[in-house]
């Protein structure tokens, strides 16, 4: 690309110069230089494992570089702890949520900075008041007194954003903030970002949704395999340019589309009612991809949890192949050939301190690869290795700790865990959350292929293009009720949004 990757003469708010960082077996960053100007939104894109989060962690003081330096307003700074970075005016919204579930929204936002009286007692009224003001300014409709653990994941993400913004920092780093948000919440966030820019703050913004780059960024930088490939104004680039820079090759069609004609009904829900959904009935056919759309809090994940037996519905019932069944635990669900990819990879997905192998194999061990209680180590390793290659998990080996993988690669491992079960019914809750464009279309192809082979897929997604591009039918939920089911040739974004927002 024509524009130099980095112009040393310009006056930057923050500048990274020649930053490198290696982990055992991986070069995460290789001589990366990057500048962020005041009053601008700088997008950072790249494939899973390209080094984006690592670079941001270095800037936010969570990780020390092997070499290179950071400059703030032209002066070299040492940001070796998050505290120092915060003091220097840099706040970060993490890719994985870092809130304490048992504490309230207000406590989480102001932790360590609570207003206290002279006796050291926290002044709760003031705390609540401050929180309410902050949330109102950001137009986030969350009660300051609820425990974070009770909020749906998208709301938690909003709280995380509020927390970062409460520091009134000069530079705000956002690592895939919208991956857990619905489009409407994302719009809200973009308004806030626009206000920040107008106020002269800078935003470093990581995303896999390229539309967002074109919508909000003043500048975009691309990382590939730890190297800085280039930077430019989004206006000078096309979507395809950007993808080519990210993956180093052309990508063909984005959505493989729903394959084949669905077969017999395998799963039928009859008037299911639970804590967050009411009177939900639907049928799912073999080989069908049923998209489930809706806004945050529409009860989609709770419905998935009920189908999988995690929190069974209070009334109503399920039938499999026309036979009424009771699914009251994930074990029974798995025994019936139902698999679930959960939405929150940190809380209910990853075993963070265990290896990739242990994360992949665990569910399959319930039914396979075990003889007289002893795990057939070789067979398991072979199957997991094949799965990991198929999904192109970027890692030095199967024995690497999953906590060391990039977010998108963790997601692939969790998807692999489900696929190793060879389920008949696959429930996917945001299957491509945090996954890069290239891997995303690979996962889409995989899902389409599974459906073509007869797997029934229920896919929850907050990305309308994904829903529209993949599903045979689209079911829309609003506040716990199904507000409509559309055939894919009738469906269009406007219609879905209308059903979802009602």
């Amino acid at each position: 690309m024509a524009v130099p990757a980095h112009d040393a003469r310009q006056e930057w708010l923050l500048e990274a110069r020649g930053v490198s960082k290696s982990f055992p077996g991986v070069v995460a960053l290789d001589d990366v230089s990057l500048g962020v100007a005041t009053g601008s939104v700088h997008a950072l894109v790249g494939e899973n494992g390209a080094g984006k989060s690592t670079l941001m962690k270095i800037i936010a003081g969570l990780c020390t570089p092997d070499s290179g330096e950071l400059r703030l307003h032209g002066r070299a700074v040492q940001l070796d702890t998050p505290r120092r970075a915060l003091q220097a005016g840099i706040a970060m919204i993490h890719q994985e949520l870092n809130l304490m579930p048992s504490m309230t929204v207000a406590e989480n936002i102001w932790i360590g900075r609570e207003p206290v009286s002279r006796l050291g007692i926290v002044r709760h009224r003031e705390l609540r008041h401050r929180t309410r003001t902050l949330l109102e300014r950001l137009r986030i409709g969350v009660d300051p007194d609820t425990a974070v653990g009770e909020l749906p994941i998208a709301a938690r993400q909003l709280v995380e954003i509020a927390k970062a913004l409460s520091h009134e920092s000069r530079l705000i780093i956002m690592d895939e903030p919208t991956s857990a948000l619905t489009e409407r919440d994302a719009e809200q966030l973009f308004t806030v970002i626009g206000e920040l820019r107008a106020a002269g703050r800078a935003v470093l913004y990581i995303t896999h949704r390229l539309d967002e780059v074109f919508a909000i960024a003043d500048q975009v930088s691309v990382l590939r395999d730890g190297r800085h490939v280039g930077s430019d104004r989004p206006a000078n680039l096309s979507r395809d340019d950007l993808i080519r820079m990210m993956v180093g090759r052309e990508l063909a069609r984005i959505y493989p589309g729903a394959p084949g004609v669905p077969g017999a009904v395998v799963l039928a829900a009859h008037a299911l009612t639970g804590a967050r959904f009411r009177d939900v009935s639907f049928e799912l056919r073999a080989g069908e991809i049923l998209g489930l759309a809706g806004l945050m809090g529409a009860g989609r994940s709770e419905l998935a949890a009920a189908l999988f037996g995690l929190s069974p519905a209070r009334t109503g019932h399920l039938s499999l192949d026309g036979v009424r069944v009771r699914i009251d635990s994930p074990r029974t669900a798995l025994a019936h050939g139902i698999a679930l990819l959960t939405e929150d990879r940190k809380e209910s997905g990853c075993f963070l301190m265990l290896s990739i192998l242990e994360n992949l194999e665990i569910a399959a061990l319930g039914r396979e690869f075990v003889r007289a209680g002893v795990v057939r180590g070789r067979a398991v390793r072979e199957a997991c290795g094949a799965m990991s290659r198929q999904l192109r998990v970027k890692t030095p080996g199967l024995d690497e700790c999953i906590g060391n993988l990039s977010g998108g690669n963790q997601q692939k491992v969790l998807l692999g865990r489900c696929l190793l079960l060879r389920p008949r019914i696959l429930i996917l809750d945001e299957p491509t959350r945090g996954v890069d464009v290239g891997a995303k279309s690979e996962i889409h192809e995989l899902i389409a292929r599974l459906a073509a082979q007869g797997t029934a897929v229920l896919m929850i997604s907050s990305e309308l293009p994904e829903i529209l591009g993949m599903s045979h039918r689209i079911m829309v939920m609003h506040e716990g009720r199904v507000t409509g089911t559309l055939d894919r040739d009738q469906a269009d974004p406007v219609q879905i949004m209308q059903l979802a927002a009602r």
Binding site: S22, F23, P24, G25, V26, V27, A28, D30, G49, L62, C63, T64, D225, G226, F308, L310, S329, P330, R331, L334, L340, T342, E347, S348, G349, C350, F351, L352, M353, L354, E358, E361, I362, A363, L365, G366, V370, G373, V374, V375, G377, R378, R381, E382, C384, G385, A386, S388, R389, R392, V393, K394, T395, P396, G397, L398, C401, G403, N404, R417
Partner: protein
């Protein structure tokens, strides 16, 4: 087998892969270091060798064998993210019950005058069953009522000690059969310790039981989603731990040739210490039997080293406490290092 060599490695990464030591390497060095330190101090202060004294080594290993047996079970409990405070009391309870069924006909005031000179299998099986039952109670309380393991096992700890005292109104149970005493004689306790360690080392590494145990400790919620019956598995783990405490109680009473309700005092803490020194993390998901064995030996070396140097027992406890604190701090440090990717 076309195994996964490197899957998709970042370019330039080949050959830069740093070699990783097994996690036990560090504490093994501590063990060797401590032993050498006592050796040197021995030559300086008491003009004797610490290590080259067969008798001392045998006594040392015998002393810690009982702790080691308990620690094998406790390690598994800790891996699930739990804790077992009841081990010491369960040792006392099983010692009493097993000994009462192992009395010889010479015992004038036997607990069960009609039940003397029973075959060895009776006290053995009953002892193990008592231990298993205590573990079952621990596990069921934790799994079904959701009480934190600390509280549940604390309750069982107090109750079991109480039953042990009530059983004979505080009287010791003595004059046991020769066969029973045989379990505690010679190197038998050491053999039992090593056999249980080997068995559960293999179980943790190569069986589904082991995989599930680590998974539950690493993330119980994700374990449930993966189809593991978390409650049932916890009951199994606590029952195993209880059974091993029972085994320790049998060995203890056999070695002393009597059962006393005061046996096993504070053993639970030594066993937890051995596991933690050996690298088990109290936050769950991490721990290995090999580490625990080394941790047990470290406790043994410290105890016998201090006795050897004729230092007061008070100091022993102070130093033991310090070692435990250092081990826990090291664990915290390791976890932070893992999180920060340092």
């Amino acid at each position: 087998m076309s195994q996964a060599r490197t899957l998709e490695t970042a370019p330039g990464a080949a050959g830069r892969r740093t070699r990783r030591w097994p996690p036990e390497a560090g504490i093994l060095m501590v063990l060797v270091g401590l032993a050498l330190a006592f050796e040197v101090l021995g030559w300086i202060f008491v003009r004797q060798s610490f290590l080259f004294n067969e008798q001392r080594l045998v006594v040392m290993i015998l002393q810690v064998a009982v702790i080691g047996i308990i620690a094998v079970g406790v390690t598994q409990v800790i891996i699930t993210g739990g804790i077992d405070l009841s081990s010491g009391s369960v040792v006392a309870l099983t010692a009493m019950v097993a000994a009462s069924l192992a009395q010889s006909s010479e015992a004038v005031r036997a607990v069960y005058p009609t039940l003397t000179d029973l075959p060895l299998i009776v006290p053995l099986a009953t002892g193990l069953a008592v231990g298993a039952l205590a573990g079952l109670v621990n596990g069921s309380l934790i799994a079904w009522t959701g009480i934190p393991p600390f509280i549940a096992t604390l309750g069982v700890m107090v109750t079991a000690r109480g039953i042990a005292k009530w059983y004979t109104h505080g009287e010791p149970v003595s004059l046991l059969t020769d066969a029973y005493a045989g379990i505690g004689s010679g190197a038998v306790p050491v053999a039992i310790f090593l056999a249980t360690a080997a068995l559960f080392h293999l179980a943790l590494r190569y069986t589904r039981y082991g995989k599930f145990t680590y998974a539950i400790g690493a993330n119980p919620q994700a374990a449930r989603v993966s189809g593991i019956n978390v409650g049932r598995h916890l009951i199994v783990v606590y029952t195993i731990a209880g059974t091993l405490s029972g085994l320790a109680g049998i060995v203890t009473s056999a070695r002393a040739e009597s059962g006393q309700s005061g046996m096993g005092m504070m053993y639970e803490l030594d066993a937890i210490a051995a596991a933690v020194i050996g690298g088990a993390s109290l936050s769950g998901g991490v721990g290995r039997i090999t580490g625990t064995v080394i941790g047990t030996l470290i406790l043994g070396v410290v105890t016998s080293g201090f006795t050897f140097l004729r230092i007061d027992a008070y100091y022993q406890e102070i130093v033991k406490g310090a070692i435990i604190v250092v081990a826990v701090v090291a664990d915290q440090y390791r976890q932070r290092a893992r999180r920060r990717g340092a």
